[in-house]
Each structure stands twice: as structure tokens, then as C-alpha cells.
Amino acid sequence: MNDPASLRAEDLSKRFGTAVALDHISITVPAGECLALIGESGSGKTTLLRSLNRMVEPDSGTVYVDERPTRDVDPVALRRRMGYVPQDGGLLPHWRVRRNVGLVPWLAGDHASGARADEALRLVGMDPAVYAERWPSELSGGQRQRVAIARALAARPGILLLDEPFGALDAITRAELHDMFLQLHAELGMTAVLVTHDIREAIVLADEIAVVHAGRVEQQTTPQLLLAAPATPYVAALLARAGVT
């Protein structure tokens, strides 16, 4: 297990053509904490997440992992130290579950990548004897997300990035995966950044919440403080619309 790393984005800006995705945005995630990025479509939350593992290169600003600028790190090496879970799972359809889950250890040249995969499957509550030899197309949506999380964790990264990982699931399955995530986070203690548009999910899963709007952070604080004291009218309106106030 790699030690959980701290994560900090400082003054990031990014334009796509004329559209401003990030507007001098900054966030901080202490090691071992879970930060939820919440916002509407087009708020810039996904661009911010993808800046953290250099899937997007910001036009200006700096991302630090353990206070070291990521621009000094080879992006491929950087990404292998960060788990990543996309909304649709992003499993490779032509690889069986075990090979998918063992991907990052295998890339790192770990000869026991199969065993690592089986361990990771157990972590997410899937029996390798049942699921390891299946094709992704033979899994349900919830199983697919569990496998995607197992894949992100197989090399035990210090940081886990999740891009709306539970967004496409039904309510019951989502609740099951929330429980699983909380348990994993408690057990492994990795630093996590979770993008979501569901404020209730953020409240349940995150240590802190950053409300992203128009490429800026409106407010970053704990769920309790957010609910108690919305810093801006936008945050207040967001909470009111979600019916959580």
C-alpha cells in the first residue's frame, strides 16, 4: 500500500476554444481525505479532476502531489500512481475481468498481477472464482463499477480519482456501492477525489465538499458547515434545489 498523498491544485485555468472550463481555481485535499467536487454539467468539475492526473493539461497553474509539482513527473508514471474510475467503468471489453483488474500492476511489470487482481476483487466484494474469468459484457452495471473500482485499487495507489462513478446506477445498487466505498476508504485510507452532481452522495461519502461553478470554487468545506452556512447565493440555491436544507 502506497501512503496516501496530499493533493493540491493551485490557480488552474483552462480554456477549450473560447469556453472557459477552469478560471483560476484552487483546491486542497489533505492526505487520506475524500473531497467531493460537486457542480452542474459544464461547471468544470470533470476538467479539474482530469487536470489532477494530467489527462488535461491546464493552461496555467500547478498541481502538487505531496507538495511536488506534477509537471515535473512523467504523466504515465503519475497516472499509474493514481487510481481512476470513470462513470461507465471504462473496462476493456476484449479483456476478461481478471486481466482488466490486474492492468496497472501488469503495466508496472508485476508478475503477480493476477493475484493482485484477485485480492482487489475480494476488496470490492466480488468472488474471483465466480467473476475473474468473465467478460465485462457478462456483468451488471453495479458489478461493472465494482470491477472498475477494483481495477483502480489493484496497485494500491495513494490517490483515487472517481468521475461520477455511481451516476448511472439504480438507487439500491448505488446505496450498496456507497457502503462499500465508505468501508474501503476507512480500510485503505487513500486520498480520494470524487466528482458528482448528487449533493446527497457528496454528503454521505466526502470529508469535504467543493462546490464548483463556472470554473471556480464557490465554497470548500465540510458537509456540516456547507449545510449550515452556505457561503454564496449560488451554494444556497444549489442546496435548496436538492432539498437538503
Binding site: 489527462m55 503519475l78 497516472r79 499509474r80 487510481g83 481512476y84 473496462l91 476493456l92 503495466l107 480519482l161
Partner: protein, 493 residues
Amino acid sequence: MALVGPHDRPVVVASKPFGESYILAEMFAQLLEARGLRVDRRVGLGATAVAYGALRTGAIDVYPEYTGTGLLVIVGDPPQSDPRAVFARVFTVCRDRDGTRWLPPLGFENTYAVAVRRATADSLHLATLSDLARVGGRLRAGFTADFIGRADGLPGLAQHYGLHLRDVHALAPAVKYQALAAGAVDVIDGYSTDGLIARYDLTVLSDDRHFFPPYEAAAVVSAALQRDDPRAVAALTELSGLIDVGRMRDLNRRLEVDGAPVATIAHDALTALGLLGADATARTTPAREGVLAYIAAERGRLVALTVRHLFLVAVSLAAAMLVAVPAGLLLASAPRRGELAIRAVGLVQTIPGIALLAFMLPIIGIGIWPALVALFLYSLYPILRNTYTGVRDADPGAVDAAQALGMTPGQVLGYVRLPLAAPVIMAGIRTAAVIDVGTATLAAFIGAGGLGEPIVAGLALSDTRMILSGAIPAALLALVVDALLALVERRLR
């Protein structure tokens, strides 16, 4: 008695793809063989441009040509009517410009003839082309593409006689007589020596205002043959002046009407002319059997042609895969330029096969190389397009995740994009292979062999059986190749 020429190489005898040309070429070939020379037959070359181009570049040594065609197509002069002036002109230009040599004419003219059904001629009182011009607006014509396009064909004829026809359809030489007989058209072009004019009881309209230029047949030989083997040139000259128009029409009738084999007709003609020694043995004549019996009788040759056909397809397809798959991968990384480049390659697909072969003739001559190059070019597009599309559109979620988890661009390509695109790429290869099997039949027009050989010869000789003996195996081959590649494709899914 097998004497060997000063340069021990076979004399390459060629013909254009119509019956009379086959007969004359076979007579050249048998005469050379009777004089102890080895002969390589490359009959049925696509068109004047292909045949003369091959002669000029030394890919073939001799083929029968007509002075009028030489004047218009090879020299590029306007039509003129004095036969001696025409021969002198083509002889001089070809000698000085290309080093080729027109041997003294064989003794007959084969000019264009315009023919109608006897019933049409009777009811409309048609005897001359001037008569035709009078009633042209009521008649439908079926002319060969050659005739429609050439200055000494329809354009000149229309101008010279003030002729306007109701409709003009382009017909293949092989079907125009049937079309006329069946009443689908009323007027066709033909050649004055055609054996079919008698068979279908047609009236040839006389050229009363002397429009058609003289078309005297002659052997034309390459510079290389004149240099390497003067004895071959001397042997070919023996035929000069010996074949009059009546004899040629007889020979054509035996071929077109009686369906006798070319080799037999040529042998009999040479014997009758006293040009073959007494020891020359007649070739056996297979009787006209059904298609299956014909295929069975010719199976040895057909197997060899099928092997050649497969060779053409396999080599060109392999080369196309080696080029198009990497090119498709490269272009997929730059989609905007990629799309443009692929459309440009797609343009090749719109060039008709025979035109593509004609373009390449001056560069790579005739035979197997240009055929391989043409098939290669035709195979590029489907493989390139499918590789490009397959790789570009490969499951975006999977590609993104693979990248985000730390695959290098090369690993993303090799482990994700390419495997996901494999079935699509394979489908492109399969399409290319089936197109190739079909297109490879055109290779016969430039002497590259394959199953097109009996098809081209059969079309030229109006022999359906012969056409089918090439077409049926080619179709079966396409099905087999498609089925085999479908299996490979299934395994990749």
C-alpha cells in the same frame, strides 16, 4: 529440328481482344514455330493503347494492327483516304518515333462497316450511308464505345453524312449482333470482315461518300525483335499480301459462326497457304460440348489459371495490408488530415480498371507487375478506411480509461485500439479480397493471366462456354475467399 534464335528468347506474340486479331496472332505464332522459333502467346490485350504501348516498350514483339487505327490512334493524324499514303505515314512515324516496324500489309482491309437488318434495309430502302442519313432520326443505334469515341467513327461519320440517330447506345462488341438481331437496336457498327454479317443476314451500307479511312491489316514488330531476331521478322513477312478479304472473312466465319478453335483455323489457313511443312500436324479439334464438359476438358489449364489468379490476389492484398493498416493507424492520430488523405485514396477506386491499367502502361508496361500494382491500388481504400474508422471509433470509454490508468500511447494503440478495431479492419480486408478476385479478371487485358483469360477470349470469340469457364471459377473463388476470411474475422471478435 528445334533451331534456336540468335538470342534464345521466345518471340512474344500478342493480339487485341477480338476474333480476327486472335486468328492472325495465332497464324503468326504457328508460322514462327514452324520456322523453329519459340513463341510466347499474350493474346487479348485490352485496347490499341495497351497493345501498341506494350509493343513500343518491348513487352511484346508482334501483333496484328490496322493502318487506319495506326494513323488515328497511334500517330494521331486526322483521317485520310489514300491507303498507300496512310501506310507510308504510319510506317515512317512509328519507325522514327518508336523504332517499331510495320511489315508489308497482309492483303486485306478491315474497315468499319455500318449494318442494319435486311428487313430494315428493305422497308426503308437503305443501301448506302447517305440513305441512312435520310432516315436516321427514326433509328436506334448500338455502337461500340470505340466507334462512338473515335474521330473516324461516329463523330466523323455524323458530320460527313449529316447523320443524326434517334438514340445511340454503347454496346460491347460481343453483344451488338445479338442486340441487332433481337430488334433492341436498328443499326450497329461492325467490321467489313466480320463473319457474323453473313450469319445474321445483315445489310452492310456502302460508304458512298468515302468517309472511312483504309484499314489494311499488317503485322507490327518491336524494335527489340528487329534487333534480336531478324529471322522472326523474315518469317512474319512471308504472310504479307497472302490473305485477301474473302479468305479473312472465311476464317472469321469459321470462328464466329462455326465455333472452331483458333489454333485449328490458323493451322488450316497456314496449310492452305503452303506455309507449313508437310510434317506439321493438325491440332485436334474438341467438338462443341457443354460448359461443364468444356471445364472438365480444360481443367488442367483452369487450375493453372486459378493458381495464377490467387497469386495475383494474395500478393496484391498482402502488399495493401502492409501499407494500408499502418497508414490507417497513422492517419487516425490526425483525424482532419486523415479524412482528406483517405478520400484522395478513395478516388483511385472510381477509376475504371481498364483505364487504370492504361495509365500505368507507359510506366510499367504489361504483364504481371502492372496487374499487381492495379490490384494493390484497388485494395488500399477498403483496408485504409476500415483501419482508420475502426481505430478512431474504438470504444472511447475503454481508450480513455486505459490512458488514465497509465498506458503509454503505444500501449493504448497496441492493447486497446488495435484489438478493438481488429474485426473492422478484417472486414475491410475481406471487402478488398472480394473486390480483388473480381478485378483480377481484368489482368488478362494486359497479359497477366488469371481467370480473366478465358473470359476475355470468350467475349472476343462470342463463346459463352469459354466465358463461363473463367467466370464460374472466379465467382466460386470469390465465395471461398470471402468465407475463409469470414472465419478469420469471427475468431477476431
